[in-house]
Symmetry: C3
Subunit: 260 residues, 3 copies
């Protein structure tokens, strides 16, 4: 049997919302250590990697390793019915072809149980090499979402340039061109609002805004996003899942002259 319980079920709902636009269905790998998931989007351009460690759950039990093929779209529908303060239990009984999603209201007067059929999915483990990035940017998730939205007005691609002073996003297209520059935070009072750039080497890389915007669906998971960049290397865009793991998105840079 597999059973994992979260006191704040909304965390799980945010994970699913963060993934489901990029990958409609995916295989969850459940083991004693926790839940992991790796998947590419349907056009095989971006990759997502999820880790939720067992110790982050209220209770966690996994008798044997399981690969669960799950429709994130269906699961999203079910999780949207969850109350704001509901607890959540995910369960798969032995020899069962379905996953049980159980929600309980805080004062124990409402119990919702859903059962979704599991899917047979081709599982592909994707090796993600450890990379020593040239540059890491930490910034508020909401600001990153907003920049992706604003840049998408101007063009399909966004150029990300880092300097010691800050980071600049720019795009151009039919309307003209635009850029947004964030200044590195010097006096950090509110850590969640800080913009911090750790840089060994300056980078200037271009990415498809469409994918960055999809990654931002995971922004509600964490007040800060981490962007790790190196020339000729996929961007890693990370949202931490409080105390228990992370969602990481990977996207290869576009090959074009970065002169805009």
């Amino acid at each position: 049997m597999f059973e994992a319980r979260l006191l704040h079920g909304s965390i799980f709902a945010k994970v699913i919302e963060g993934l489901r636009e990029l990958v409609n269905e995916a295989t969850w790998e459940c083991s004693g250590n926790g839940i992991t998931l790796q998947a590419m989007d349907s056009s095989h351009v971006a990759l997502v990697s999820l880790v939720m460690r067992s110790e982050g759950f209220e209770s966690y039990r996994c008798d044997r390793n399981m690969s669960l093929g799950i429709s994130l779209v269906s699961m999203s529908k079910v999780l949207k019915t969850m109350g704001k303060d509901d607890s959540l239990t995910i369960r798969v009984n032995d020899d069962s072809d379905s996953i049980i999603i159980a929600m309980e209201s805080q004062n124990q007067d409402k119990f919702a149980d859903y059962e979704l059929r599991l899917m047979d999915l081709d599982s592909e483990h994707l090796g993600i090499p450890d990379t020593d990035y040239s540059c890491t940017i930490k910034m508020p998730s909401s600001e990153f979402s907003r920049i992706c939205r604003d840049m998408s007005i101007m063009g399909d691609s966004v150029l990300v340039c880092t300097t010691k002073e800050g980071v600049k996003f720019s795009a151009k297209g039919d309307l003209g061109q635009g850029s947004i520059r964030l200044v590195q935070t010097t006096n950090i009072e509110k850590e969640e609002e800080a913009v911090i750039i750790e840089m060994k080497e300056a980078v200037a890389l271009t990415f498809a805004v469409r994918y960055l915007s999809m990654f931002c669906k995971a922004a509600p998971l964490s007040p800060q996003v981490g962007l790790s960049l190196s020339e000729d290397t996929p961007l890693m865009c990370e949202f931490k899942i409080a105390e228990m793991g992370h969602v990481r998105f990977y996207l290869a840079p576009k090959i074009e002259d970065a002169e805009n």
Copy 2:
């Protein structure tokens, strides 16, 4: 002449919003006792019965009985223009073929008058037999609305089962299946949030979610909804109209094996 005045016109707007999706047009029966309306939906599956007693109005005058054919869709449009705290007067002059809807702002600086043409409708009085139901559930209207919405994700039909401990709603379909169980309230502090089950006999009945969802359009009328159930008998879903009457919806159960 017919003239009825409500200090809080919004009550009337909520009545119309509660009915207009189920019945686009209907005949209002006005008499010295008040306003009543009975109508079936266009597919002749569900029935609605409205009672607004004369003493619930700020002032009420009905010189002779009148049957008024009214487009609820048009009336809804007009009532949506009403200010939050406006008073409302409905008037039909003798020998007139239109109904006058007059709204006044609380501080008497804005007066809106609308005149809608009356319609010739086939009036049908539908005998609704008094039923001694096996089971009556009282629960928060907002919770019932939410359950109908959540169950509609899982399937077209919802099975309602009552026990002494509580009530269970369940549905199944392509995605899988789901159920929501509400526990009977034992310690009633907030009457409006209570779930109370009065049961002579347990019931297990299946209904079309689509219709239940339409009934829920009347939920803003009252913090509590009453569901009255008996085997092989139409469900009665009642929303009280504060101190003055009620909206009652009737829906026959689906005939299928209630084994899910």
Copy 3:
């Protein structure tokens, strides 16, 4: 060079939002005195005139008169990216074919720069004769927006009638007819909520609701709107731009018998 800076950039965004539905693109006339714009809507029915005086800007520089052909639709998209408390600088360098829109966050940690291509537009200066109106109505902008919306439910045209007691808007159509009467404010405590009618002569004029509704897009600019009316003369609908100018819309009355 032309350069104009506003501490509260949102004023400029509201100006553009107020105009862009009526005129998609227009020529801005920039001089030492400020910015003016005159344009007709694409169907040549309504006219808009904008004045933003130089002294209303935080800083203002215009070395020589310039006519700038600008897509208000594109500019609206760019201005929607502006933060609530951002300052705004508009700049056109000499011999440049583009306009630069620069936004700065209040605490100087975010800088957005956009460059939009200028357009070649046929410039037409439209003589607007000074009129001595029979009647001027001042009323809350939000109330005027609401009345236009409510009257549009009843018909395409709205008849505006003034008397010493107040002003009445009415419309009729397939549903029936409706009217809204505002009473002149006698005891003015809150100037912004007052309805004031200055009248030499009563008027009864009919206008296309569609255009009045478009004028209302400028309502966020000012808590009060001014409507100036004379028989056989275009209505002037004015929204002041705090301390610096105004947006004025002109619309000829419909020629029909005003007997409704």
